[in-house]
């Protein structure tokens, strides 16, 4: 294990994590303010404008009825696909390098899911009737249509949202308890409630272990199913270039791919700005790097496969779809995507690259840009080239759409910034597990213990 980790003591962990919660510098507030402001200006205002005017505010038109909103929806769902899934897999497989990073990864899952849901709202023509898509008894005696892929989405995403929030919460209970003891005032009350009076007895640990593992087992297939189902929104249509069996795995891989890249980004930021250098180390970047490399290769393979099957079919519609994708109006975007998601990641072969932080950050962002492009192309190049050439059209996103896209990122950041001040963004007890046991360490004086002295509850 790396030196900086070896030098850690149990108490340091508590102190560092608690500090990350209670000690808030101006830098944080400024960032939060920016994020909030951006959300307001770039997300909420344009959206209200659109609600008032109608989807006319967006650039969609007759053949191209879906646009960036759908693309963003898949993108965010995709981004959500590493955190919890990865965390579960690694938990089941007892890989200890997960422990320092999984909490924030899961948070990413949670918030990108929330953003994805808001994108659905933005996409709808009459979002004020969205409750009709949920099964509740109503005077109209009408029910949603469970035969619709969109309803699969509703159920899947609802489940996934519940699952991942439960998962992240359950993993945090012992940490809430630890923080509870180290905080005062409203925070103390908050964490008292959140920790449900956790003490850390042998029984509690035992139960938690069980529950946690069971959840992990449940969530892995769930996560896989969710993005397959999202892909069916497209694949179960008969639109050329969308009506493909490869789509489910394609989407899942893509999702995990962009999600993992997202984790790298988040890790970098946490490490840099929450001063977790000693917890998030080269080791993590190295492993994530390897994972990314593998994923990028699979992703590339599936892309090639898609082109091949399309070409092999020889059908006018499929060929046209390919032609349009590779050489049509949006071709530059396509090649940009290939560059970002297929070629650039090959750098990950070198360990030096994997273990150097800034380059990894750059790459991870590049990959997600590429992945967004992919989602945009799925929507943008297929619908405009369907069966009847006479009805072909062209779609260019409007300012409102672009601004909402930016705004959604801001919304995500806002949520995440709030998260790091409420949840211990690094798991205290699991990091401790990776440390040499307390006995082997020089005993710290009580004074140092976690900085804040504990006072009994009134």
């Amino acid at each position: 294990m790396p030196a900086e980790v070896a030098s850690l003591r149990y108490a340091d962990v508590n102190r560092d994590v608690v500090r990350s919660l209670v000690e808030t510098g101006p830098k944080y507030y400024i960032t939060l303010a920016c994020a909030l402001g951006l959300t307001l200006v770039c997300f909420l205002f344009p959206w209200f404008y659109q609600l008032n005017l109608g989807i006319a505010a967006a650039g969609m038109n007759h053949p191209q009825v879906w646009g960036t909103y759908e693309a963003s929806f898949i993108f965010w769902i995709g981004l959500s696909h590493s955190g919890t899934l990865l965390s579960c897999v690694l938990h089941i497989t007892h890989s200890s390098w997960r422990k320092a990073m999984y909490r924030s990864a899961e948070a990413m899952t949670l918030f990108s899911l929330m953003v994805a849901v808001t994108m659905v709202m933005v996409h709808l023509g009459r979002p004020w009737f969205i409750h009709w898509a949920f099964p509740y008894p109503n005077q109209m005696e009408l029910w949603p249509n469970f035969r619709s892929p969109l309803l699969f989405d509703v159920t899947a995403i609802a489940t996934y949202l519940t699952g991942s929030s439960v998962f992240i919460y359950m993993g945090s209970i012992p940490d809430f308890a630890a923080v509870r003891d180290r905080t005062t005032g409203w925070r103390h009350h908050l964490y008292t409630l959140l920790s449900l009076g956790w003490r850390g007895t042998d029984t509690e640990w035992h139960r938690l272990g069980w529950a946690y593992t069971l959840l992990a087992v449940l969530i892995i297939p769930l996560a896989v199913s969710v993005h397959s189902i999202v892909s069916w929104d497209w694949a179960s249509s008969i639109v050329p270039a969308l009506h493909q069996t490869i789509f489910a795995p394609y989407f899942v891989v893509g999702a995990i791919y962009s999600g993992t890249a997202g984790i790298v980004t988040v890790m970098f930021l946490l490490r840099k700005y929450m001063s977790f250098e000693r917890y998030i180390t080269e080791l993590h970047f190295d492993n994530l790097g390897k994972l990314l490399l593998a994923l990028s290769l699979i992703w590339t393979y599936i892309n090639v496969l898609e082109l091949f099957t399309g070409w092999y079919s020889g059908a006018s519609t499929e060929l046209e779809a390919l032609k349009y994708k590779l050489f049509g109006y949006y071709a530059p975007l396509y090649w940009e995507m290939i560059l970002c998601c297929a070629i650039a990641p090959l750098l990950l072969i070198s360990k030096r690259f994997r273990t150097s932080f800034v380059p990894m950050l750059v790459l991870s962002i590049a990959i997600n840009i590429g992945m967004y492009t992919e989602r945009f192309l799925i929507v943008g190049t297929s619908l405009s080239r369907k069966y009847l050439p006479d009805a072909w059209g062209l779609y260019v996103p409007s300012l409102v759409e672009l601004s909402i896209l930016v705004g959604s990122v801001a919304l995500f950041s806002t949520l995440f910034l709030l998260f790091v001040k409420i949840f211990p963004s690094v798991s205290i007890y699991e990091v401790k597990e990776t440390l040499p046991e307390a006995a082997e360490l020089p005993k710290p004086a009580t004074a140092e213990r976690g900085g804040v002295q504990w006072q009994p509850v009134q």
């Binding site: 109503n138 005077q139 109209m140 005696e141 308890a177 103390h188 009350h189 908050l190 008292t192 409630l193 449900l196 009076g197 956790w198 003490r199 009994p456 509850v457 009134q458």
Partner: protein, 179 residues
């Protein structure tokens, strides 16, 4: 020394209490509006009493609402229809004078709709009347009312229940009422 969530709950109680009262308030307000200002019996430009006409003088509904059997709408009587009788009957009453003044300067009487359906609902009176549905089934005992009051909810579910109960042909096809 020990640990429990109770103290925290106690600390949060006032806030929680406030929120709860607030929400309860919302419900009360909502209910109050529905209960005291239902708008099911608007004040009409002329205090026309169906009781006097339909019960006391036993005028059949279709005498005035002539279209009900033949058209999608039942039709409200033209001002002339009122005048036809009332230039003989009860001329001195203030309300009748009002009618006469409308008639004098050929103004229509701006009745206020009591049974108003959304614009995307197409309710054909003729189908229902011809099927032998009594006016009262939907309009209530109008002949006993001085000022007409809407008694039926006129909600989709309510329509459907009747359609189901009578196994109306294609009575559940959305296009039967929405076009």
């Amino acid at each position: 020394m020990g640990v429990s969530i109770v103290p925290a709950l106690r600390a949060l109680k006032p806030a929680a209490l406030t929120v709860a009262t607030g929400l309860a308030g919302v419900l009360v307000g909502f209910w109050a509006n529905a209960a005291f200002f239902p708008g099911t019996s608007p004040r009409q430009p002329i205090e026309f009493s169906h009781k006097i006409h339909a019960t006391d003088n036993a005028i059949p509904c279709l005498y005035c609402h002539t279209q009900a059997r033949r058209s999608t709408v039942a039709g409200v009587p033209s001002v002339r229809k009122c005048v036809d009788c009332h230039n003989i009957v009860a001329k001195d009453r203030p309300q009748i004078r009002k009618v006469m003044s409308y008639w004098a300067n050929q103004q229509p009487i701006p009745w206020i709709k009591v049974h108003d359906l959304p614009d995307f609902v197409y309710f054909p009176h003729k189908r229902h009347v011809q099927a032998g549905v009594a006016c009262q089934t939907c309009h209530g005992k109008v002949e006993t009312m001085h000022r007409v009051k809407r008694v039926a909810p006129l909600k989709m579910g309510w329509c459907l229940d009747c359609h189901k109960a009578h196994a109306v042909e294609h009575g559940l096809d959305c296009w039967t009422c929405h076009k």
